[in-house]
Chain length 161, copies 2
């Protein structure tokens, strides 16, 4: 339905806008890094806001793994209309979330043709995860990796304080 | 639920980003106009994309009024979770759509205190309406007016070719 399309279109606009705006500036060297971190930060704040509303009436979580499961099931379904397909952990604070058909990559041809475009479209979501976790008390570093569109792996490394 | 919050948070981020980015540039005079038109244009493209998906399996519309009714009921509910409360027309191509509790203004205190902030948060939606109508064959000029938050009136003037 048009429902999820709203988020997808809006996301595309943001990515396009952030990259276009940078292109008109002078420091082209820093371009990529800046765009990715701008998008990541937007995602971070949206993730913070969402999780706050979303867990308003939830019991608190006992373990980090419970938080990750909640994120993979409940939060992911709300935002991306499907659950994470596979969650792995080394039980030492590193989690790998695999989405075999990631919503924000489905507009691309499948395969390897547009792989170098992928980071643009993953930065916001990395931030989203980091923001959600942050509001649940977990500081983390989140990166994403695509080897074959539209499948995507997010790696979350929890930062022990 | 977190569902509509996603759009609201994302919208807030976009508005904040567009204004912040302009603030760091030199030509501050043009600031307001540029930000509003940037947001309007983003809304336009999102509106175009949404209506295309949304009317994929719809019968074509007979009259302009049917298009406006569709927009006020179906499209508005999908995006803003409620219908337009009141639709008026002079039957000469001007339509006034009144939303008594416009989703993107509900975060503000009600009343007149933040009235001057309103245009920031309406530009995207004006573009959304214009984009949707444009894809249904109607070129229009869309403006918005707020006299008391969170109520809002959108004026649509169809441009006869």
């Amino acid at each position: 339905m048009a429902d999820d399309a709203l988020f997808e279109f809006l996301h595309m606009e943001i990515v396009a806008h952030v990259y276009k705006e940078q292109a008109t500036r002078e420091d082209i060297d820093k371009e990529r890094v800046t765009c990715v971190s701008t998008l990541e930060l937007m995602g971070f704040r949206v993730g913070q806001g969402l999780i706050e509303r979303f867990t308003k009436d939830c019991p608190t979580f006992k373990e980090d793994l419970d938080i990750m499961k909640f994120l993979c099931k409940d939060l992911w379904s709300t935002i991306f209309r499907k659950q994470i397909d596979n969650l792995r952990t080394n039980h030492q604070g590193t989690y790998v979330l695999q989405d075999n058909k990631f919503a924000l990559l489905t507009q691309f041809s499948t395969g390897k043709q547009y792989l170098e475009e992928a980071p643009k479209y993953l930065a916001f979501s990395c931030g989203l995860i980091r923001g959600a976790l942050s509001n649940l008390g977990l500081e983390s570093v989140v990166t994403a990796e695509v080897s074959l569109m539209p499948s995507c792996k997010f790696q979350v490394v929890i930062q022990k304080l």
